[in-house]
């Protein structure tokens, strides 16, 4: 496919004039520059400025905000955020990978249906979806009602770290399934048959063939779950009560409550740094997979 694309691109640059080139590429890029690149740049620079009296920023430049990131209170929050987001990502993988595997083995028409069914919840308001879990997990909620019928005492799942992990995983799991599915599609099925023929049982086939060859897709999925989880403040708030402060909550507080924009920006910088790290890992895995010709 990519070779046809380059062929087409080569042919087109002759027939379309420079005016067309300008008209097509500039407006969208300009828009993205103004409304995405500049805001990003602002945040990155605010991290190094000082907080203004009523919000906003002012000079002088300082590294104080970055320094605060290494302080004990924040380290605590950072650690707990990474653990919670990491747990959500891991659970999303554990549920999502087998599901993606099943989908990849369906007939093409059913694959389409299955994929849409996975993606559909994602296109709804995630507040509502989070809210639905409140309904389910509440002390008087459905889960406890059901348990009561069987004679088990009500569990207090709501307002715990576990509920937050569950809520985050629920919000983003479709984004774990899709890239893994895409990776599985590109996998040569005869490789798994060959492994089986050579004597490999299901676990060994997963460990030695499936996992290494779908790693780029897995990492993309991890990216799409881990990073948004870190930056989410609604789910920790609604499902975690006061118990779980995550980076997302902190950032939101800095901007809307404490009005310490520079610190909030520094926190965002931290999230962006983690994003960059994972993207780099993913790019490296993808490049290696291409080199194998897989």
């Amino acid at each position: 496919m990519s070779s046809t694309t380059t062929q087409r691109a080569r042919r087109s640059t002759n027939s379309d004039g420079p005016v067309l080139r300008f008209l097509t590429s500039v407006p969208a890029l300009a828009y993205l520059f103004v409304f995405m690149a500049i805001p990003l740049g602002l945040i990155m620079s605010y991290a190094f400025l000082t907080a203004g009296r009523f919000g906003g920023v002012k000079l002088p430049f300082t590294l104080e905000n970055i320094a605060r990131l290494t302080g004990p209170i924040f380290r605590e929050v950072l650690f707990s955020s990474i653990v919670i987001a990491g747990a959500a990502t891991l659970l999303a993988f554990v549920l999502g990978f087998p599901a993606a595997l099943v989908i990849s083995r369906l007939s093409p028409t059913w694959q389409t249906v299955a994929l849409i069914a996975v993606v559909l919840p994602f296109w709804t308001n995630f507040l509502i979806r989070t809210y639905a879990w409140i309904v389910l997990l509440n002390r008087e909620g459905l889960l406890n009602h059901g348990l009561a019928k069987v004679g088990i005492a009500p569990i207090d799942v709501l307002y715990t770290k576990q509920a937050v992990v569950l809520g985050l995983m629920y919000a983003y799991i479709p984004l774990m399934v899709l890239p893994i599915y895409a990776s599985l599609q590109r996998l040569d099925p005869s490789l798994l048959e060959a492994a089986r023929n050579l004597g490999a049982g299901p676990w060994r086939r997963f460990r030695t063939v499936l996992l290494p060859l779908t790693l780029p897709g897995i990492l993309t999925g991890a990216l799409f779950v881990f990073i948004p989880s870190l930056g989410n403040f609604v789910i920790p708030e609604l499902l975690g009560g006061g118990n779980s402060q995550m980076i997302g909550n902190l950032i939101r507080d800095q901007f809307l409550k404490s009005r310490d924009w520079p610190f909030g920006s520094a926190l965002s910088l931290m999230v962006l740094a983690l994003l960059v790290i994972i993207v780099m890992l993913q790019t490296r895995a993808a490049r290696r997979t291409r080199e194998w010709g897989a």
Binding site: A194, R196, N197, G293
Partner: protein
């Protein structure tokens, strides 16, 4: 033969409306180079996959060394498969690919290195041990696939269209390689192919399949010289096929042609076959001339040419090995030795 290595009995398998295997039965002997030959859709690949354990038949059974094979799960069968696409693990070196099966069997590390080194030297790839598959040529990749299967010393080695992906020149080399290897390691090989050249040149015995059935099981020479059905006569090599019947006095009747002399063996034949190399062009005045016809197209094939000769509505194929190539429209006569004609008793 005494106790066959593999005994296949009444194997049937349907996919939806399509009957891929219809009660197939055959024996494969120890140390044999066996071929399953047939056009696509004939069931040979299904049979292969049943032997490998990737498909279960609807009915019938298969024994290996006298033991039931179908109950054994695919990963535990002493049967190894060389895939048409080779299916080499792209993320593992040649060494690791070859060692894979031994690791699954939990063989000791020291023994693994020894056996891997041994088999790599057998296929001549010792210097590529650490290379990745996508750096190898087609022929090299095939040898790795072979090595990977052989190193486990299976009772049966199945090869799915082993030569189809190779260039013509390499194909010839690989053919000899495969023959040599089979003798050297002493494993029973079963080749599945649609290419009769492959089957005929490699195998000790060939099972010709069509539409889920084995039409004829014989040595290559027998298949070529004594096909028993129209299908086999047509599929193996080229021939002119004349449908008709024999009468009580040893004459063959085909509509549109004069009667031809054949022997008594033709009583049950529904058609006769004549190989192009057994037919000869002579002048119409020659005493041995049996039929008169006109030359149609002539196909030059290098060491011989094939000439179409039209006799009435019937087209004959004649091989010409020496002399001038005839011209289109030329008026000629055909002749052949009486005993060169082959009786075909089935479709």
């Amino acid at each position: 033969m005494n106790q066959p290595l593999v005994a296949i009995r009444d194997l049937s398998r349907a996919f939806g409306d399509v009957q891929a295997l219809k009660g197939v039965s055959l024996d494969i002997g120890e140390n044999e180079f066996f071929a399953l030959l047939g056009p696509s859709g004939c069931g040979k690949t299904t049979l292969l996959r049943v032997l490998a354990g990737f498909e279960q038949p609807d009915s019938g059974n298969v024994t290996l060394d006298g033991n039931d094979l179908l109950d054994v799960p695919a990963e535990k069968r002493p049967v190894n498969l060389m895939f048409q696409s080779y299916a080499l693990f792209p993320h593992m070196s040649v060494e690791k690919n070859v060692a894979y099966g031994l690791e699954c069997d939990k063989v000791a590390k020291a023994e693994i290195s020894e056996r891997v080194a041994g088999v790599l030297s057998t296929v001549g790839l010792t210097d590529k041990a650490k290379a990745l598959p996508n750096t190898l040529s087609g022929g090299q990749r095939q040898r790795v696939a072979l090595a990977r299967a052989i190193v486990k010393r299976p009772r049966l080695l199945l090869l799915d269209e082993p030569l189809s992906a190779l260039d013509r020149k390499i194909r010839g080399e690989m053919q000899m390689e495969l023959k040599r290897l089979q003798h050297e390691v002493g494993i029973t090989f079963v080749v599945v192919t649609h290419d009769q050249d492959e089957a005929m040149s490699l195998a000790d015995r060939v099972a010709v399949m069509n539409m889920g059935e084995v039409r004829q099981l014989d040595t290559p020479v027998q298949l070529y010289r004594h096909p028993r059905s129209v299908f086999v006569a047509d599929f193996i090599g080229t021939s002119t096929i004349l449908r008709g019947h024999a009468d009580s006095v040893g004459l063959w009747h085909t509509e549109g042609l004069p009667t031809l002399k054949v022997g008594d063996a033709f009583a049950n034949a529904i058609a006769i076959a004549l190989r192009p190399e057994d037919a000869k062009l002579v002048s119409r005045t020659d005493s041995s001339a049996k039929l008169e016809g006109t030359i149609g197209s002539v196909f030059f094939q290098g060491d011989h040419a094939l000439a179409q000769v039209l006799v009435g509505d019937q087209q004959f194929l004649v091989a010409i090995r020496e002399g001038e190539l005839p011209e289109r429209g030329g008026e000629v006569a055909l002749t052949w030795k009486d005993d060169a004609v082959i009786p075909l008793t089935a479709e």
